[in-house]
């Protein structure tokens, strides 16, 4: 047997950077080769929301908050936030649970020439990219499905900074949930966590409309999705929204906290 030629010596930083890029290339290759997985995961739930709340409800005279246009406008930002959240959970958390629990495919990645923390950060990079791709996919659908088109008003500076930040936060949340929870509990916790996160996250109604029920309005502030929804509402509509002076720092702080905790848990799970 002849052995492969030895690789030329590289600095640890160059090796780690190349490895990080290759891990991401592998994940994007899988994504590109199996687009059905990604699309079904991304589309089904938000499209149904838009279809039921933005198309059916106004057509059958069900009471919605305001006109059909207002409903569609509210849903537009909400759907962008929801798909971003779902990618964080389904592209990062669930695969990690399987990987750390029984497939152990991650073991080969952990032997790549980069620190274990960087393997975790690559998962977050992937989740962020997938979140943004999902938002791109859902955007036109949220425009055309509702009974009346939403009143689109794009603030580019907000959109181009806030969408990546929201995606990063949701991917970090995914990594945190995928590593911090006992794998045996994950499925149950998903059911218990995901539903309130989604319904209380101001995706289906603007936060300002909750002023009628102050305790719910307060509760919604504990949901990270609220900041993504309200931020995106500021980015793509001219509806009233939570102040950006709150949205940016809270998302940045939540991202930092989740990243710190998640990489710590990750390292602890993979190195005994």
């Amino acid at each position: 047997m002849t052995l492969p030629a030895p690789a030329p010596p590289r600095s640890p930083a160059a090796a780690a950077l190349a490895a990080f890029g290759a891990l991401l290339a592998r994940d994007l290759t899988v994504l590109r080769k199996q687009p059905a997985d990604f699309l079904t995961r991304t589309i089904v739930q938000p499209v149904l929301f838009v279809f039921v709340l933005g198309y059916i409800a106004p057509r059958i005279g069900q009471p919605t908050a305001g006109s059909a246009t207002q409903a569609a406008t509210t849903l537009l930002a909400g759907m962008l936030a929801i798909v971003i959240l779902f990618q964080g959970l389904f592209a990062v958390a669930l695969p990690l649970v399987a990987d750390l629990g029984y497939t152990r495919e991650i073991d080969d990645r952990l032997l790549a020439p980069l620190p274990a923390r960087a393997v975790a950060l690559e998962k977050i990079a992937l989740g962020t990219i997938q979140g943004l791709l999902a938002a791109l996919v859902i955007f036109p659908l949220a425009m055309i499905i509702p009974a009346a088109p939403p009143a689109l008003h794009i603030h580019w500076a907000v959109l181009l900074t806030l969408a990546p930040l929201a995606a990063l936060m949701c991917a970090s949340l995914g990594l945190f949930l995928g590593t911090a929870l006992d794998p045996r509990l994950t499925m149950a916790l998903f059911a218990v966590l995901i539903t309130p996160l989604m319904w209380l996250g101001c995706a289906l109604f603007p936060w300002s409309a909750l002023h009628a029920i102050p305790w719910v309005q307060g509760l919604a502030l504990a949901d990270p999705l609220t900041y993504a929804s309200e931020g995106l509402r500021a980015a793509v509509t001219s509806q009233p929204h939570l102040s950006l002076l709150v949205v940016y720092p809270v998302q940045a702080a939540a991202t930092g906290l989740l990243l710190w905790q998640a990489t710590r848990h990750f390292t602890r799970r993979v190195i005994s």
């Binding site: 690789a7 090796a15 780690a16 790549a112």
Partner: protein
Amino acid sequence: MTRVTAAAPGPAIPPAAAADAAVLTESLGKTYPGGTVAVAGLDLEVRRGEVFALLGPNGAGKSTTAGMLTTTVRPTAGRAWVAGLDVAAAPARVHQHIGVVPQRNTLDRRLNVRDNLIFHGRYFGMRPAAARAAAARLLAQVSLSDAAGKRVDELSGGMAQRLMIARAIMHRPDVLFLDEPTTGLDPQSRLAVHDIITSLQAAGQTILLITHDMTEADVLAGRVAIIDHGRLLALDTPAALKRSVRGGTTVTVTADGTGPAQLAAALAASVPGARDARPLGDAVLLTVDDSHPVLPAVLAAAEACHARLREVRADPPTLETVFIQLTGKELRDS
């Protein structure tokens, strides 16, 4: 001797031997939270180019040792260097120098056979074209060219194991770690893996083989470290380990014409160096250090008590005999 803990402050100055050895450990130890001591002060040196076996029963600390050397387990005592690099201080750099075939199948199920190798090569900085060429060459060498486009969950256990070995050597590591590489394989696949290991050794690959299979260690390894309860019990070539056993050779004498009890008494009395002679069925089991010098005496003793010899068989010691003598228990019991 002072024990240096992995967490000890101060400059990490490797001993001169660390640069020369493929693997060097100094009082390496691992105590898991909760107090379980898996490895207790292990001193090992694996030389470049050799196949070195860590032999021991399940729970002996073999896999924990391998885990520490491959950076997935953090040492709690002592130090270890792989390719001259401190495993605790520079894990990511160590990765560039090691290839690992773990006990479980960790192939990437979302990629086909060929892409498992290509992406692994790319993790180690190979350019896509170079990775493709190396993958094709390695697949041919482990007889998987025909399966290159298959999904990895379509592979048999033996094929998956060959692919994992190919993956582990894809980036040309200095040290290849094989953790129980043939456990659970059928005899043919086992031989195929043994052939690959032998040819890798011929090509100069340093291999650390972790196994509880004594025959495997005996056949493949240049040197064998026997460990149990996280401690090194013996370390030498298989031949020297077997030579070290006292009374490890069993000579089985089967004869007609004389009862086995009488024959046993005759053999015990007249064979020089006989440690024990006891009847078993219609045969006598004679325990000696070495069969060569005693066979003439066996024949003479049998003739003297008018036994008609049917069969004389000498079984030299195996590594199992060595292990039993060292630990007082059989490998499979523990």
